[in-house]
């Protein structure tokens, strides 16, 4: 865990396949304005094998409890939360369980459910996901080599290399278990109960999250905003940091005095 500067506090929570180094492109901008705390999700980062528990982290609530414990251990009473990908719903769960701890949430490329359902387009069929899980289980390296460029979504070799580095840092069995937990999750009921101000950021084309999902979140979370970035891929904070910063500037700064 790394922290710097003074209040208000911004919590940075990364997504699957990355670790807290994923924030390095937008971090300087945030640090000049907030006290910034980032952390590694259980299973990710250099100590991933030690922090991950196959039972506790079999649901996203296990990750949400980790987040709430982090806030408590750092004596943070109120934070601005920025979560990428799976961390969008981890933040949502934590903010429903303990609303007072969250002033607002920013979700980048978040999805409450990846599977299609009646009246809901999550983007994946169960057979798609089974293919993903089989691929991961059979040969994690080979699977990752194909997954990295697809999820980055733009020909940015530096981002692909960086994503690959952090992806392969995850122990393969933990990566498989985590991706199952994420892709099989249904957090729609939690998202509907979220009562904190939420800003949804979405790129124009994202392999993991269709536009319909961002629209669903926007509709289901009261008072939320949706910004579609002039960028593509699932990792805009790495590949298009300026786009992210310009939205954060608009969405966070007017209320940044909020204690």
């Amino acid at each position: 865990m790394t922290l710097s500067s003074e209040t208000p506090v911004v919590i940075l929570s990364h997504g699957f396949g990355t670790d807290q180094t994923a924030w390095s492109a937008i971090r300087p901008w945030l640090e000049s304005r907030f006290r910034v705390i980032s952390y590694d999700l259980a299973g990710a980062g250099p100590d991933g094998a030690k922090t991950y528990d196959f039972r506790q982290h079999s649901t996203l609530f296990g990750f949400a409890d980790d987040l709430l414990s982090l806030l408590a251990s750092q004596n943070i009473e109120r934070c601005i939360y920025i979560g990428h990908s799976v961390s969008g719903m981890i933040g949502a769960a934590a903010a429903v369980a303990d609303p007072d701890a969250f002033a607002k949430l920013v979700m980048i490329g978040a999805s409450p459910r990846y599977l299609n359902d009646e009246g809901y387009h999550g983007g994946f069929e169960q057979s798609d996901l089974d293919g993903v899980f089989d691929g991961m289980a059979t040969n994690f390296q080979a699977w990752g080599a194909g997954f990295a460029p697809a999820v980055v979504g733009v020909p940015d070799n530096k981002a692909i290399d960086e994503f690959s580095r952090t992806l392969f840092q995850i122990r393969p069995d933990i990566a498989l278990a985590t991706s199952r937990t994420i892709f099989q999750s249904d957090m729609r009921a939690v998202a509907r109960r979220l009562e904190r101000q939420t800003h949804i950021l979405q790129t124009a084309r994202d392999l993991a999250v269709p536009q319909d999902v961002a629209a669903w979140l926007n509709k289901s979370i009261d008072g939320s905003t949706l910004d579609t970035l002039d960028a593509e891929g699932h990792l805009p904070h790495m590949t298009a940091p300026d786009e992210i910063i310009s939205v954060l500037e608009r969405r966070l700064l007017p209320t940044s005095n909020l204690a």
Binding site: D53, Q56, A97, A189
Partner: protein, 452 residues
């Protein structure tokens, strides 16, 4: 109306008790979980279901809170998010009945009341919930310990089953009562008995039948004879059937006084084949397929010793050394491929002469030099054999392609007789004599055999 707990068929006692506790307390949700010092709560029963996933208790120190005043407000209790978010409405009140058991010191029953709950409490305890539900504490502790034990047993049994069926070994476990046998799939196929629990006498009969079909059944019978008396007997032996080599390990289980026994059947055919192949390669001359020099000395040394011991004959043994006449000229005039063809053809002819005498050994011991060992053979017989070998070569030319090549051999012989102290005693001495005679045969005009 008093709501009666609806106990599902097949539900556990703990499930029924959890259901009862929820109804009695008028709560919306009841969850019995086990948790130890690591703080990971593993749900054992919930009402309503389904059973939630395991969750970390984290900062929620439920067991240290004084619940004597009844349910408390959720705020400030830092309940796990999985519990707080398990319902459509926010959880409002919570109560915990600590029911520690064994190592699971943070176990207990969590009761939850939701905000704007549609449920109403019509139970007899309604005015005194805080005092009455904790009365179930001891019952919950016992039930959870029981459930925990069932799950532990199931886990142990699952692990055993995985091990039992995935090891590459046939396993038969004969129970201490000597009436039942546990047989895994591999052993079932091998012994042609049903897998799983089987009748011990049937399995035993099939094992004996397999043993009796083995080529080495006599030595196996000796190996397993002590089994009749010695319950602690253990052994490892290879059973050689027509199809495979099976390494069979047996040892007692459950110690003294309990007649349990395990049999392990491990297919070592591949290993045996490889060893046989390596042995063959190490012993064989590549060009002619005859035994090589190494093999010859091994066998010949043993034969000399046996002759001295008076075994396998009347203490007699003959040795022939033979050499192809003018072999260098054949190579020079017709090339090495022709030389190789001569060696191969010659080896075949010599071997076919000796084939009727199963104990004889012919080996290629040098470039164009061969040695023949004739156990239990006296000088007269050895001379006959030498003559047959010589004529088998000299009779007709060796044919390779268009070439018809007359070839002859010269032989020198030596005989060991334990009754005649003038004959050579050692293999070295025999070879020396035979080599001298071979030299004489060459000098005497070739195409002949010379003895003493």
């Amino acid at each position: 109306m008093v709501l009666m707990p609806v106990i599902q068929p097949g539900a556990t006692g703990l499930g029924a008790l959890t259901c009862f506790a929820r109804m009695a307390a008028g709560a919306d949700f009841a969850l019995a979980f086990q948790a130890g010092t690591d703080g990971l709560a593993v749900p054992l029963a919930s009402d309503p279901g389904p059973l939630p996933q395991p969750f970390a208790l984290g900062r929620a120190k439920l067991e240290t809170i004084d619940w004597s005043g009844g349910p408390r407000d959720v705020a400030g209790l830092t309940l796990p998010s999985a519990i707080l978010l398990a319902f459509d409405q926010p959880a409002q009140q919570v109560m915990f009945v600590a029911s520690p058991f064994a190592e699971e010191t943070r176990s207990g029953v969590l009761l939850i009341w939701l905000a704007n709950s549609p449920r109403r409490c019509d139970c007899p305890f309604r005015d005194n919930i805080g005092a009455s539900v904790p009365l179930l504490r001891a019952a919950f502790g016992q039930m959870m310990a029981g459930q925990h034990e069932v799950m532990d047993r199931k886990l142990a049994s699952d692990r055993f089953h995985d091990l039992f069926e995935t090891v590459p070994t046939g396993i038969v476990v004969l129970d201490g009562d000597t009436t039942t046998a546990l047989v895994n799939e591999r052993a079932a196929v091998l012994l042609d008995v049903p897998a799983g629990e089987a009748d011990a006498s049937q399995v035993g009969a099939q094992m004996r039948a397999l043993r009796d079909r083995c080529r080495n059944r006599d030595s196996l019978a000796d190996i397993y004879a002590p089994l009749q008396q010695d319950l602690d007997y253990s052994s490892t032996a290879v059973w050689v059937t027509a199809e495979q080599h099976i390494e069979v390990d047996t040892h007692p289980i459950l110690g003294h006084g309990r007649n349990g026994r395990i049999w392990l059947f491990h297919d070592v055919s591949a290993r045996e084949r490889l060893e046989e192949e390596l042995r063959h390669k190490a012993d064989t001359d590549v060009l002619t397929g005859l035994a090589n020099r190494r093999r010859f000395f091994e066998i010949a040394n043993a034969a000399v010793q046996r002759a001295h011991a008076g075994q396998g004959g009347e203490g007699e043994l003959a040795l022939l050394l033979l050499d192809i006449d003018h072999f260098k000229a054949i190579n020079d005039q017709h090339g090495h491929p022709m030389g190789d063809a001569v060696l191969r053809d010659l080896a075949q002819r010599l071997q076919s002469i000796l084939r009727t005498r199963s104990r004889d050994l012919i080996a290629r011991v040098g470039g164009e030099e061969f040695a023949v060992l004739l156990p239990a053979t006296n000088a007269e017989e050895a001379k006959l054999v030498a003559g047959r070998l010589r004529t088998a070569i000299a009779d007709r030319p060796i044919v390779s392609g268009e070439t018809h090549l007359p070839v002859t051999i010269s032989l020198g012989g030596a005989v060991l007789s334990t009754e005649d102290s003038t004959t050579p005693r050692s293999l070295e001495a025999l070879l020396k004599v035979a080599d001298d005679k071979l030299y004489l045969a060459k000098r005497g005009g070739r195409n002949r055999a010379v003895f003493d």
